[in-house]
């Protein structure tokens, strides 16, 4: 137990330092954000440490993640390629980075199964990163001979021209499995419906909440919200990555408790039973 005391002590001291430092070292207005970031990071760290020390971590089975290997296997059996679409945003979006981390795992599967892989990209800098990701994944599986330089290729920067290009690839090459993992906008439904029309098994994942309904309708499996960000950690299976997901889940439980608490206290404040608006504590200002 003593080994875990640091996860209480260090954040406590950090917060003391933050709030009582006599000079204006810290920006004003970001206090709530800072407290939340520190608490979240140390909770995640605590569960990573526990996982590394051998604590068993139960992960809820996520159908979409389980289906990834099946989809690649199906493509191999059918002798058709796997199409991986990493969205249309650049690397400044966490969704694109998450999409590329999942690509690393999917490329590993295609290398293992000797299935074809096609990654049409919309942003050149994403193309370079995706190339490195795939190359390393093939190398790690000891199948660098199967890696082709044109696996990851640039299509165009324009949103709908890209959608047209990817649709063309789908209709001509009829991939058996299609992955949509990244940041998507209005083109999501055009892509997913085309994939649906060719009978490909489709697995989507995005953090764009407005595109999730389209993917749910047109795809076989969809990673919704935080599932998408957890997919890579889930696929890696390493204890420390799984520990971080467990930590994230505990923070979510904390959020639910806080929501209920704020709801009740706001209601009491509304009826004049207490004279303090708790919700004002949670109004944050991250943008200076």
């Amino acid at each position: 137990m003593t080994q875990y005391i640091k996860y209480v002590l260090i954040p406590f001291l950090t917060l003391l330092f933050y709030f009582f430092f006599p000079f204006p070292l810290f920006l004003e207005g970001n206090e709530t954000t800072f407290v939340c970031v520190i608490i979240l990071c140390f909770i995640v760290e605590y569960f990573i440490e526990k996982a590394k020390n051998g604590d068993k971590i139960y992960m809820r089975p996520i159908a979409a993640i389980k289906a990834m290997e099946e989809a690649v296997g199906r493509a191999t059996e059918m002798g058709k390629p796997v199409l991986y679409v990493p969205g249309i945003s650049s690397l400044d979006q966490i969704d694109t980075i998450s999409g590329l981390t999942i690509l690393g795992h999917v490329a590993g599967m295609t290398a293992e199964y000797d299935a074809g892989l096609q990654v049409p990209v919309c942003v050149p800098i994403v193309m370079e990163t995706a190339k490195e990701t795939c190359k390393e994944a093939y190398l790690k599986k000891g199948r660098s001979d199967l890696y082709r330089n044109d696996m990851v290729h640039y299509v165009t920067d324009d949103q709908f021209a890209y959608a047209a290009g990817v649709n063309g690839i789908m209709l001509r090459e009829k991939p058996a499995a299609v992955f949509f993992q990244g940041k998507f906008y209005a083109e999501s439904l055009i892509l997913a419906e085309t994939g649906n029309s060719i009978g490909a098994i489709q697995i989507a994942g995005t953090g764009s909440s407005s595109q999730i309904p389209f993917f749910v309708t047109a795809c076989d499996y969809t990673l919704i919200g935080e599932e998408f960000y957890a997919a890579s950690a889930y696929l890696s299976g390493s204890p420390e990555m799984l520990g971080s997901i467990k930590g994230q889940d505990y923070v979510k439980v904390g959020c639910i408790i806080m929501i209920v608490f704020v709801f009740i206290s706001s209601a009491l404040n509304g009826y004049g039973i207490i004279n303090f608006d708790v919700s004002s504590l949670f109004r944050i200002n991250i943008i200076r």
């Binding site: 970031v37 999942i102 290729h153 960000y229």
Partner: protein, 267 residues
């Protein structure tokens, strides 16, 4: 060593960016707000050149090796070269090269307006048909959830069109009764009994509501109902997803900047 350097850069820049949000040090804040984003743009600019090279390589290879569908590659390359020619070499107007890209009368502008934009608009317009086919699949009554989706979808559609305002209270009530029976229809074994009950409900309930003077209730105005669906259940659902996304983003960013998430580098 090369990989260690990449990890080090990710971790260093990640923590630097994060600290820029909390530390009151103007060079650091300036770096995060301005310089770092400019660096990103410069690197992206170089990568754009690599994208063009990749596009040319891919399609030239396809044509030279006569791979499947190589004829499409000719069209792609032709489109690419024609736009380069009219963008960099031939102007077609009295305006200087460069500003001619946005000036009416230049060949490039004409092609952008009359070929590129209509093609983009065509792709966008396809969305309407895809929405129809996707909605059809989603609204098919397969289970309880799909039925609920259908019902709320119907209310949203009716409530958002002008005719929705004109629907009288009794018609709204009849629609509710019909939808309620659609929901519980599979519980009736005797369909004749169900039909009788439905007819009786359609006749009795409007009279009952009218006699109790409840017909002014907001519930019987479909635009109000669609507003409630959007404001309460839909917002609650989307906020739950948004909270999950926010937590997922923080945890994923934390994994990346502490160097634990290595799959992006193939590990």
């Amino acid at each position: 060593m090369k990989r260690q350097l990449a990890y080090f850069l990710v971790i260093f820049i990640g923590f630097l960016t994060l600290s820029g949000h909390f530390i009151n040090y103007s060079p650091l804040n300036n770096f995060i707000d301005n310089d770092a984003t400019q660096w990103f743009d410069i690197i992206s600019g170089f990568a754009a050149f690599l994208g063009v090279v990749n596009l040319l390589q891919l399609h030239l290879n396809k044509i030279s090796q006569k791979k499947d569908n190589w004829r499409y590659s000719i069209i792609t390359l032709l489109g690419f070269l024609i736009m380069i020619f009219f963008g960099f070499i031939y102007n077609g107007s009295s305006v200087a090269l460069g500003p001619h890209l946005k000036k009416e009368g230049s060949a490039f502008y004409w092609m952008f307006q009359n070929i590129y934009l209509p093609l983009g608009a065509t792709m966008f317009a396809l969305l309407a048909f895809f929405v129809a086919s996707a909605s059809y699949r989603a609204f098919k009554i397969r289970n309880f959830e799909a039925t609920l989706l259908l019902i709320s979808g119907v209310f949203l559609m009716i409530g958002r069109v002008p005719i929705g305002q004109l629907i009288p209270w009794w018609m709204s009530l009849e629609i509710y009764i019909c939808l309620l029976f659609a929901l519980i229809a599979n519980r009736f074994k005797d369909k004749k009994k169900m039909l009788t009950l439905l007819t009786l409900s359609l006749l009795i309930f409007p009279i009952l509501i009218f006699s109790l003077n409840l017909h002014d209730l907001a519930l019987f105005k479909i635009p109000n109902l669609q507003e409630w669906i959007m404001d309460v259940p839909a917002t609650a659902g989307s906020r739950a997803i948004m909270i999950g996304i926010a937590l997922g983003t923080i945890a994923q960013s934390y994994r990346i900047i502490t160097g634990r998430e290595k799959s992006i580098l193939g590990d």
